[in-house]
């Protein structure tokens, strides 16, 4: 009951749902800063060809592993490529891998979870056992194994990361659907003669949207981390480079050129942290039953 009263206080009569979400999201300062940060990185990624002063594979033999200077504000790598340029292009790869992998993961997870939760019974049993199987493999190593079996392209890496990370969401959506199936308004809709498809989409899926969106946001960060781990172990995307690939290339030259390792790591860290904060902010903003 305490929760209910808190909600009523926080809802304004003439406000759309989206406006309410935005108003509540804005209260979470760190989430707003994170959103600005991600938008900046995204803009840089989109404008990569315009912003970058050099080509991402353009080498300079006279300027190998030089520290940050006026010509190369973030230094150069071991074959004289401009670090700033590479990081700008890396943002493209890392962000798009994160977004597409999260999209794949959320689509698969929602489909499997919704099917299992809506139908229940034997279908639920089969799908959940399958989910447990996928969940059981050591993630990083399963990724490594599959990546060695397929042709290594940006698209395949996205797909493999997405297809190995949907299990948590599937279990959550299933739980949501199982409880929504028994809820009064779904029963009411059924009594009024609503079609199955309408019940699933309008009543069940839309009501599970909040946790799905939060999960999708967190998943982007997780996917970026997964891609960078793959690249770090030498099995990621090489050209154009991702942040993980750049980081890995500086690994053995840390003593002489630490900037090759430090900067991409900071970017990965910052970006993943930002997505986590945005997810946190969205969780608070989307769920009308949460106080705070």
């Amino acid at each position: 009951m305490a929760q209910q009263t808190a909600t009523i206080k926080d809802i304004k009569a003439d406000e759309t749902y989206l406006k309410m979400v935005w108003r509540r999201f804005k209260k979470h300062k760190l989430a707003v800063i994170s959103l600005l940060f991600i938008l900046t990185i995204a803009l840089i990624a989109i404008l990569a060809p315009i912003i970058s002063p050099y080509g991402y594979d353009q080498t300079n033999r006279d300027n190998i592993m030089s520290g940050p200077s006026r010509e190369h504000i973030l230094g150069t790598d071991r074959i004289g490529r401009d670090m700033f340029t590479r990081l700008v292009w890396g943002a493209r790869i890392s962000l798009s891998v994160g977004l597409v992998a999260a999209l794949v993961s959320v689509t698969v997870g929602t489909l499997i979870g919704a099917t299992a939760g809506y139908f229940g019974g034997i279908i639920d049993d089969i799908l959940m056992r399958f989910t447990e199987m996928v969940m059981s493999f050591p993630v990083i190593f399963l990724l490594l194994t599959i990546v060695t079996l397929v042709e290594r392209s940006v698209f395949n890496v996205m797909l493999v990361i997405g297809l190995t990370s949907w299990t948590g969401l599937a279990r959550m959506v299933r739980g949501q659907f199982l409880s929504l199936r028994e809820s009064d308004y779904v029963e009411a809709a059924r009594a009024l003669g609503a079609k199955n498809s309408r019940i699933v989409i309008k009543h069940m899926l839309l009501n599970s949207m909040a946790p799905i969106i939060v999960n999708a946001t967190l998943q982007v960060g997780t996917a970026i981390l997964a891609e960078s781990s793959l690249s770090f172990l030498g099995l990621g995307i090489t050209s154009p480079p991702s942040w993980g690939t750049i980081l890995n290339s500086g690994r053995f030259y840390m003593r002489y050129a630490p900037w090759i390792t430090i900067f991409p790591g900071l970017l990965i860290f910052g970006t993943v942290l930002a997505f986590n904060y945005i997810g946190d902010g969205l969780r608070d903003a989307l769920d009308p039953y949460l106080k705070r």
């Binding site: 199987m133 490594l144 770090f232 003593r255 942290l273």
Partner: protein, 323 residues
């Protein structure tokens, strides 16, 4: 409870069978014909056919699977393509190094994370709580390998007493050199990987402990304990702490799989000669027998770990009665 246990056990067996099928199929998809690896370079087609027959590779896929799983159950994971030695032997040889690292990491994690999580919950919204939740939040986003590299750069390369690769100096052995010389040597190697493992494990446990404690302190029996005049210290240690610890105990079931997934990156960076390093090397050498054994063992451990966690939960908390 008995019915639940039986159902849970059957589920586990089904999942284990599924895992073995997935592992087998992945191995089957691996590029290259195993016969080419086993036969000599200039073997004739007849000789190859003979090998194929010898290893049952001309049988239909389901039969091949049954043959393979029959051997796996007996502990025969095949032989490594690269060294020609039994896979199980190679893994068992590397296991102690991984176990040592993880054992100490676990001790440190629980010794620090449990009290930290508890204090954080008892002093909710204090500066201490804010610091703990923020650090835990940062810990989730921190790329493990980058954290390890930064430790190497800022500590390992600057302090002579800290090693960044391997687990012991050659020739420094227990019983040969004085006890403290060997101890110092071992610590100098384990310290950095231990910090990385402990830090990344701590964030989760501390958060979990905090949530569990917060849950408990709002229960009626805590209010009762307070209202009947028990000193706060007794309420916390006697009533709250012991109940909050219950869910944490079950987490031990989840520590088993971490041996496998956590080892991969850390052991690679610090050249720690454990199973993770073995597996990563096997990947780059396309030694699929080891790769599959590692996947299969890792997944099996996870399934058994989750099963144990469930049972443990029922054992430590008699209130839980599952259908």
């Amino acid at each position: 409870m008995k019915r639940y246990l039986i159902r849970r056990f059957i589920q586990m067996v089904i999942v284990l069978i599924g895992i073995s099928i997935i592992s087998f199929l992945i191995m089957h998809l691996a590029p290259g014909d195993p016969v080419d690896i086993m036969a000599e370079r200039n073997a004739t087609p007849e000789q190859k056919a003979h090998i194929r027959e010898l290893y049952g590779l001309n049988e239909p896929l389901p039969i091949q699977y049954l043959n393979w799983i029959g051997r796996v159950v007996k502990g025969d994971f095949g032989t490594s393509f690269v060294t020609g030695r039994p896979v199980l032997e190679m893994i068992l040889e590397r296991l102690p190094a991984t176990l040592i690292l993880n054992f100490w990491a676990m001790i440190i994690i629980y010794l620090i994370a449990v009290p930290v999580g508890m204090i954080s919950a008892l002093k909710q919204y204090s500066w201490f709580d804010h610091v703990v939740t923020t650090v835990a939040f940062f810990g989730r986003a921190l790329p493990q390998f980058w954290f390890a590299l930064m430790l190497i750069y800022f500590i390992g390369l600057r302090f002579g007493g800290v090693q960044i690769s391997g687990m012991a100096t050659w020739g420094v052995n227990w019983g040969v050199q004085p006890f403290f010389t060997v101890l110092q040597d071992r610590i100098s190697y384990i310290i950095l990987p231990l910090i990385v493992l402990a830090f990344s494990g701590m964030a989760g446990i501390a958060r979990y402990m905090r949530a569990s404690m917060l849950d408990v302190v709002h229960q009626d029996y805590i209010r009762t304990a307070r209202s009947k005049g028990l000193p706060e210290k007794k309420v916390v240690t006697g009533h709250a702490f012991r109940n909050a610890l219950l869910p944490i105990v079950t987490l031990i079931g989840f520590e088993l799989p971490i041996l496998f997934s956590g080892a991969v990156i850390i052991e690679t960076i610090f050249s720690w000669p454990g199973i993770g390093l073995l597996a990563v090397n096997a990947i780059s050498q396309q030694d699929y027998m080891i790769v599959m054994a590692f996947n299969l063992l890792g997944a099996t451990m996870t399934v058994i770990g989750m099963f144990l966690a469930d049972i443990l939960y029922m054992v430590v908390d008699p209130r839980i009665k599952l259908e």
